[in-house]
């Protein structure tokens, strides 16, 4: 594991005896006290995630029109001090990456998936967009959970939901990837000790990538490489709400065609009345429509198996049959959120 990248919190992870895993070229904490305990902590109290492995790219606002030609949402119309989820698309209208933009008066911060940082920076370069990759000089912490905002009030001025703020030390937004309220905070690495001191003093527990995955799944949020890939469009991934860019962006024709014809794959949420988990790659049938599980895991809140399935076409029935290692199990498509 010698060649793996580490974040500015690495020493803390070691001191906490976190179970470390390789993720997108980084050595990251998978769990500290157990995934389910950390999951429940974020659902009921407040926990923090070191997500410094994610790419952070600084772009001056004079490049916004150029960036807008590469994404399916309208970054030009987005007001300063707002955050926006969007997707970089390729010529086929499929997803190069799903990202968050934080917009400020003079610049934007683009947060991309760790696995796609090289791809996105190369894409920006190829499209003659100036940027500065600030991933290595900064850290990114996500503090999430119903108690988070109350605790963070003593450290920071709290923005509205999906809004951004910055001060001398911190650049942050009221965003996250757990379905809970909270902030994602970026700062220069030299401030890590100060941040850790605040987190420890406020009894905000460290949480690993294991619970980040179960939390995002329970919150019906896609993960790049699973629900979104270079072969899956945002329309197929049930992310039509993200598509609001009227510019002639890359892949727009294909996306418009998908919306118009409805002839495409369909990503659906499923639930199983079982703790047996259909993992990624599990084959699924819904009458004569075939599909495959993109993500599946145990929901600690529902105490059932949940996940996403990508079906070849629109199913006529909500009933699904999963082939879990040779056992056929029935499941159900869920059109509402997993958690009410």
């Amino acid at each position: 594991m010698n060649d793996l990248l580490t974040t500015s919190l690495y020493k803390f992870h070691q001191e906490q005896k976190a179970k470390m895993i390789e993720f997108a070229g980084w050595l990251m904490p998978f769990s500290y006290e157990g995934t389910i305990k950390e999951h429940n902590c974020v659902r009921t109290e407040s926990g923090f995630f070191d997500v410094s492995h994610m790419g952070r790219i600084y772009i001056e606002n004079n490049e916004i029109e150029n960036v807008n030609k590469l994404i399916c949402s309208d970054l030009i119309k987005l007001k300063n001090t707002k955050a926006m989820y969007s997707i970089f698309t390729n010529e086929e209208g499929n997803a190069l990456d799903d990202v968050i933009f934080w917009k400020f008066e003079t610049h934007i911060i683009l947060i991309c998936n760790a696995i796609n940082r090289d791809k996105i920076t190369t894409h920006l370069t190829n499209n003659e967009i100036s940027y500065k990759d600030i991933t290595f000089e900064t850290s990114l912490i996500a503090i999430q959970g119903p108690q988070s905002i109350e605790l963070l009030k003593t450290l920071l001025e709290i923005p509205d939901k999906f809004s951004t703020k910055n001060n001398k030390t911190f650049t942050y937004a009221r965003t996250g990837y757990t379905g809970e309220d909270g902030l994602e905070i970026m700062y220069e690495n030299i401030h890590t000790d100060q941040v850790l001191k605040f987190l420890i003093e406020n009894n905000i527990k460290p949480c690993g990538l294991g619970s980040r995955d179960t939390l995002r799944l329970e919150a019906s949020l896609p993960l790049y490489g699973f629900e979104l890939t270079e072969k899956i469009s945002p329309v197929e991934a049930n992310l039509k709400w993200v598509i609001n860019n009227n510019d002639n962006y890359l892949g727009k024709n294909k996306i418009d065609e998908h919306i118009k014809t409805g002839e495409h794959k369909y990503l659906k949420k499923f639930i199983l009345e079982s703790k047996r988990i259909p993992r990624t790659g599990t084959e699924v049938k819904s009458n004569n429509v075939s599909g495959v599980v993109t993500s599946g895991n145990y929901s600690p809140i529902l105490e059932k198996s949940i996940g996403f399935v990508l079906l070849d076409s629109l199913p006529e029935s909500d009933l699904l049959e999963f082939d879990i290692r040779g056992n056929l199990l029935e499941g159900q498509i869920i059109n509402k959120r997993f958690l009410s």
Binding site: K19, F30, S31, G34, T35, I36, K37, G210, T214, S274, K275, R276, I277, R279, N297, Y298, R325
Partner: protein, 120 residues
């Protein structure tokens, strides 16, 4: 009952007359993370050494536990149906998985000391 012996696939077994008790090691449960579901075999089911006997679902992954020797299942730990997490908290005690009659003795597992150096 004999001392526990360990396999390279991270099961432990202990022998009591002609019967073995099988579980997974503390190291294995730690690597798996939170265990949420266990598929146990049926009483009377026969396995040869190395056959997959049990499926263990954890939030991180799924794992299998293999037969340490040729055996016939005599008892399963049905408490694991409602409390699979016991494997996490007490893998070498109340988190045992199955008991089985030995069909062909093969007591070649590692001692605890040997297993410790195997996993380190």
């Amino acid at each position: 009952m004999t001392d526990k012996k360990y396999l390279e696939t991270h099961e432990w077994y202990s022998i009591n007359d002609n019967n073995i008790t099988v579980g997974i090691s503390d190291f294995a449960q730690g690597e798996l993370g939170d265990i949420v579901f266990v598929t146990l075999p049926n009483v009377g089911q026969e396995f040869n050494k190395g056959d997959s006997m049990i499926e263990i679902e954890a939030t991180k992954t799924i794992a299998e536990a293999y037969a340490p020797m040729d055996c016939v299942i005599t008892e399963i730990n049905s408490d694991l149906d409602s409390q699979p997490e016991v494997i996490n908290t007490d893998p070498c005690g109340t988190g045992w998985l199955v008991k089985a009659d030995i069909k062909k003795l093969d007591d070649t597992g590692m001692s605890y000391q040997e297993y410790e150096s195997f996993i380190s």
